[in-house]
Amino acid sequence: MAARGQRSAKRRSGCFLVMFSGVKPDKRSKVKGITQLGSRSSSSSSHSSNSNTTRSNSSSGSGGSSSSSSNNKGGGCKSHSGSSSGSSSGSGSPPAGTPPHTQMASHESLNSESKSSSLNSKLGHESMTVRDGSRTLRPDEPPLVPGEQLEGTAREVTYLCPYVGPKKGTLSVTNYRLIFRSPETDPPFELEVPLGVVSRIEKVGGANTSRGENSYGIEIFCKDIRNLRFAHKQENHSRRMVTEKLLQYAFPASHKLPFFAFGYNEQYQERGWSVYEPIAELKRQGLPTESWRITRINEQYELCETYPAVWAVPAAASDNDLRNVAAFRSRGRIPVLSWIHPESQATITRCAQPLVGVSGKRSRDDEAYIQHIMDANAQSHKIFIMDARPSVNAVANKAKGGGYESEDAYQNAEVQFLDIHNIHVMRESLRKLQEVCYPHIDNSHWLSNLEATHWLDHIRCVLSGALRIADKVESHKTSVVVHCSDGWDRTAQLTALSMLMLDGYYRTIPGFAVLLEKEWLSFGHKFAQRVGHGDDRHQDADRSPVFLQFVDCVWQILKQFPHAFQFTEDMLITILDHLYSCLFGTFLYNSERERIEKEVKTKTVSLWSLILSNKADFENPLYSANTKHHVLFPRTSMRHLCLWDKYYCRWNPSMRQQEPVHIRYKELLHVKEQLEKHVDELRKELAARQTHDSPRVASAIV
């Protein structure tokens, strides 16, 4: 511990090497370090519009940066140009810390006489990366986030961008990310990748076997749907050092090193760790009631080590009953309340599969417990047990001691299977999706290739499953018990999504944080295992994009109900970026218990600190708060789903991203404000004049 303390102190001092003129270092570096992930995506999208369209009217907007853009496009690369003056000429400079993409809407596209506004706003994207004004940095000294330390630098490295071709520059490795800067273009071409996203690193070409230019180097496979290739010069002998450093910091867990999150010491206004208090959230839902109680039976994580410390359970079940039920449920994950309908008291409870086995074992306690859950809701004399799996899989699980509830044993219960496939199927599907999206898209077979990945098919299954749960609770006032095999993957997707549909609170920014903290983190979705944080076993069969799939589902709902969410897709992308980045402690480790053990709350920063401190950047201007009391039933047919290209295809400049409506809405508000200002000025001016002049007859207008 002491050793680590020293190290981080060292790092902190290291970070002050970075000096910025005019802005306090901490503030500045926050802007850079934190928003980069989000901003990179938007900046790459800005390049995309220009790269494959030869602009016909060069007169549009954004002055000098347009020339640089053509040189600087490509795979998630960021360009810094020298001056920030261009981006904020019209209307006051944007607040620091605002992600550039949101600034863009209000400034750039307003200032240009737009011939075609979407074109201009794309250009706007570009100029918004122009932000770090007059920085006094040497080219190979990238700005670092607090706690970040330069570990190694290799010169004369070539980045082989699949879209714009090779770029020569300097590759630096820090304990947090890799930074590639190419001074070849002006402004310099820059690529920053947090090492957390690295899935595997491979050397390309041997010392004696490599022939031809750029055939000797490394290839980095990332978790965020892209691969990076760097070519080294053999005679520089830089590859070995880079590879070593990369391996060490990309896979700290495999090298017995701490995650970078433990060294990151940014200060935020908001404390993200306090966004979710289990008791407070249960109280918000109206607990305890006469039928539901709050218990701390799992305070020491003894009854169930993957569950949180605080549970809400039927009041009719004693602690002893809970212990007995735990024995009959896989890994002790007993049915615990996720959500209760404020009026009908119909509930969503979640658990793992019952340990029925081949012999068809029964548990009176478990049956009674399910009956208690049903009885807690006076509105209905029936209860649904939603098994997320395909029925074949549920049956097959009997051989492993698991299974599903038989309707004979559980009176008044109806078991339904939701046909969602397991983590291995999902992983394979995402792999196929990546093949289709990256690096190049086969246009002639785009739709059928997309369909062949089955990614959207799986999304549809999850969404319609969640919809069915929400419908049972909302329309039929019936309680639903949800489980899959272990109750931490598909179950988390289903409960969280149906809660999102049913309860408008979860569609606010803090509410969404609570939803993730509660349904995903505290109930033990194995983030470490599924993402493989800091682990070099890239072929680990436990990895699976379950959480990504959930966020995709959220995006699909958001797309269908643009007014019902307080946040925009930018927040979802930021969350996904930091799912991999290991900058924040939020998604580290597998369960609440492990996080307590590792003192994550005290030693790392929460992702919600970033999001809540920069709330304005993620706010959806279209949000209308009265949708909070409504229930969302999204359409789940294939034709109404679409690929989230802003996420999956963001590195691909040929994929044209639609300008989101909320950007145009922001522009509208700005236009309105300007117009009203002008009108007011005119009124005042006239009022002043009329007091001086004698009244005269004004001629008619219009």
Binding site: H445, H476, F561, H630
Partner: protein, 760 residues
């Protein structure tokens, strides 16, 4: 899931009891869904007698069937509504006293034919297919106008051209009425001749406020507006003696004499000479041209040995298509008859690549074609080479478009929820295999190339397709949409369609299958064009003054026989149909109503609709206007007023702010008239660059608004009308409220004459 698993296609039309059983199966929780048709048999006959459809002047009721159940397809709980079904010579009318579904009401309020069609009415020419469900077989069977009728029909399914399916059940209909209705429907929905359709309703239409491009002044106006030099208006087609598919007025090269025009026309298909349709001040013209007629004389000749020059041409193997034609040194040398010294000898060649379809052309026709191209060349002030786009080579054929459309129709008109979900699983690959989007992509690409040629190379573009009135209309319209800001306004778009599609004679009757003849000629070129415009609107949100909703409405409007715009093969066909009608009804005035009149009309012709009579027609209009007007376009207009100083200049008629405000006022104003005054002075064409399109398939989107306009997802859920449920509201509603506020602020300011004072 339950619902669609249990619902088989046959179940719907078996017996009445079955509906109840299905419902019981569905409502597993115990509550019963009230069955609306339950009261049907009890309804008294006295009431039934009173029910009549609303008939327009001249409309005749032909058949009626009582106690019919109407089903929206894909409804899990199978609630039909009962009423009386009428077939008139204009529409299929379903009259019921039961409330209308929200979806139907919405669609009705956003249709351009809601002035004379009620919520439950369907114009006969919209009927695409009629299928029957008979009692003894579960399968549906298509009924044609000459099909032998079975003794009894248990149900009738109408598949409409707007990709909508309506089912009627005759379970409780008195015997005989079902057959009579079906026969009347089949007879009148598929007439042998266009003048058998109900084309005129006896009300004089409001002035559409746009030129119809049948008068010389309209074309002269267009020439002045575009300032395209060296072209002239010819009235040589005054009695359609030159070409039946062209209007009486055409724009031809200035140097072309009428006599030469007549001579040249004979050599083109449909005797249709090349015509100018648009141009730029710099001199680049957009010309549409038919292919030359296949030779009649030398059918027996060996084409290779026939004309040495042609052989030479074929050997030279010019590139076809987007690279256009080239001046060929090895090609034909052709002297133009007029002896202009410097340009008297033009070496012109129509490229004949080896990949071209073998077309038998005789030398004279070839010469005429080359001559016409030479004239287009000479019209260019800088004598730049025109580019030829041989659309038959580079775009899908009409047949292919029709095949795609049929696949598209299959994909969007499922019979029951099972089929819907089965299709939905493979929606993307089926959509791709229909190749519809790839056709759209090709059209956009060609249009983009043509626009680039005009804008950046300043070269004239000749669009050539077989008849000169199908794909050339698509490309020509798109090129203008990309280049001409006027065309992106509603009025400009109306003008464009009137010019390129109506006046220049797109054969709507044939292509949309308004009559039962020439079925093999059907091809929804019009829909293809609208889909292309939809893609433009997607990629450029603020560029078009109208929304994609309006495009959907235009597609639907093309199937209503009272809209004369989309009914005829040509202007001359319209005149002759009008003559026929006038001869048949000498007493009644004949009014052919252009679709654009909708904008000028406030009131519904059907005064008292049985349902929803309490609804204010004006409200309906407002919502339709908001659905048709692109709020982002108006936002762009306001944006230009929000720049500093603009408000101050707003009352100065010479300022751009003044014009912008006039524009906004037209769109938003109380008058609710056409968005423009017909007497608007000529605003010269200002080329301000081209809209850039991304035509790759991965960046095109299926037009769900149109294809799924009537297809709602079959409900998997039992309860859909809960009050707490958030209905998806129009995403533009937020925008509209602010736009209205801004408008009112400005209006308020101007009403106080404040700007006038400030300006002084």
């Amino acid at each position: 899931m339950n619902s669609h698993r249990k619902g088989t296609p046959s179940a719907r039309f078996t017996t009445y009891i079955d509906f109840e059983e299905i419902n019981d199966g569905l409502t597993t929780v115990g509550e019963t869904v009230p069955l609306r048709p339950i009261d049907v048999p009890e309804e008294t006959n006295v009431d039934e007698e009173k029910i009549e459809p609303h008939l327009l002047p001249g409309e005749i009721m032909i058949a009626r069937a009582n106690n019919v159940l109407k089903f929206a397809p894909l409804k899990a709980n199978r609630t039909g509504i009962s009423g009386t079904l009428f077939v008139t010579n204009f529409k299929v009318s379903f009259v019921t006293s039961l409330p209308v579904e929200t979806k139907e009401r919405d669609m009705h309020s956003r249709s351009l034919q809601n002035r004379f069609l009620g919520v439950h009415d369907v114009c006969l020419s919209e009927v695409d297919m009629v299928n029957q469900f008979s009692e003894d077989s579960a399968k549906k069977k298509r009924l044609l106008y000459n099909t032998q009728m079975p003794p009894r029909l248990s149900g009738l399914q109408l598949v409409l051209k707007s990709l909508r399916v309506i089912n009627f059940s005759f379970k409780f209909t008195p015997t005989g009425e079902d057959i009579r209705v079906a026969q009347a429907l089949l007879h009148h929905a598929f007439p042998t001749s266009i003048d058998h359709l109900f084309l005129s309703c006896g009300y004089a239409p409001s002035s559409p406020g746009i030129p119809d491009f049948c008068r010389p002044a309209d074309w002269e106006h267009e020439l002045q507006r575009t300032r395209c030099p060296n072209w002239r208006v010819s009235k040589h087609n005054e009695f359609f003696n030159l070409c039946a598919s062209l209007p009486t007025v055409l724009v031809v090269p200035r140097d072309l004499l009428d006599a030469q025009l007549e001579q040249a026309a004979q050599h083109f298909q449909g005797t249709r000479p090349p015509v100018w349709c648009w141009g730029t001040p710099a001199g680049a013209a957009l010309v549409r041209m038919a292919q030359i007629s296949p030779s009649i004389t030398d059918n027996n000749d060996n084409p290779v040995a026939r004309v040495p020059v042609l052989a030479l041409q074929a050997a030279s193997g010019f590139l076809v298509g987007r690279t256009g034609w080239q001046w060929a040194e090895r090609g034909l040398h052709l002297a133009l008859e007029e002896g202009k010294p410097s340009h008297s000898r033009l070496s012109v060649s129509k490229s004949v690549g080896s990949n071209m379809k073998k077309r038998k052309v005789d030398e004279a026709s070839q010469q005429q074609e080359n001559r016409m191209m030479g004239l287009v060349h000479r019209c260019h002030p800088m004598r730049l080479q025109p580019k030829i786009f041989d659309l038959d080579q580079i775009l899908p054929s009409l047949k292919e478009i029709q095949i795609s459309y049929i696949k598209l129709r299959e994909l969007h008109t499922p019979d029951d929820p099972t089929q819907f979900w089965e299709q939905d699983r493979h929606y993307f690959s089926r959509l791709e295999s229909s190749r519809w989007l790839s056709h759209v992509s090709k059209c956009l690409e060609v249009a983009q190339n043509a626009a680039t040629a005009i804008l950046h190379q300043n070269s004239s573009v000749i669009l050539q397709d077989a008849s000169g009135c199908d794909l050339s209309a698509v490309i020509s319209s798109l090129v203008q949409l990309l280049l001409d800001p006027h065309v992106r306004t509603i009025r400009g778009f109306h003008c464009l369609i009137q010019k390129e599609w109506v006046a220049l004679g797109h054969p709507f009757t044939k292509r949309l299958g308004h009559t039962r003849n020439q079925v093999e000629e059907q091809s929804p070129v019009w829909l293809l064009f609208l889909d292309c415009v939809y893609q433009v609107s997607l990629q450029h949100h603020t560029a078009l003054e109208f929304t994609s909703e309006y495009l959907v409405a235009l597609w639907h409007a093309a199937h209503c026989s009272l809209h004369s715009s989309f009914m005829f093969n040509s202007v001359s066909a319209k005149y002759s149909a009008s003559d026929v009608l006038q001869r048949e009804n000498p007493q009644q005035p004949i009014y052919l109503r252009p679709v654009w009149s909708w904008w000028a009309e406030n009131k519904s012709i059907i005064e008292n609709e049985q349902n929803g009579s309490d609804e204010e027609p004006l409200d309906c209009k407002t919502s339709a206007r908001e659905a048709f007007l692109n709020v982002h376009y108006i936002q762009k207009l306001f944006k230009s007023l929000a720049i500093s100083g603009a408000v101050r200049r707003i009352s100065d008629p010479l300022s751009s702010a003044y014009h912008t405000w006039q524009h906004i006022d037209c769109l938003m104003g109380e008058t609710r008239q056409l968005p423009y005054d017909p007497a608007t002075p000529i605003v010269p064409l200002q080329l301000d660059g081209s809209l850039r399109l991304d035509t790759s398939l991965s960046n095109l989107r299926p037009w769900l608004n149109c294809f799924c306009a009537w297809l709602s997802e079959p409900a998997m859920l039992t309860l859909n009308d809960s009050e707490s449920l958030l209905k998806d509201s129009s995403p533009a509603s937020h925008h509209w409220s602010h736009i209205h506020e801004m408008y009112n602020t400005m209006k308020d300011l101007l009403s106080q004459n404040l700007t006038n004072g400030a300006a002084q």
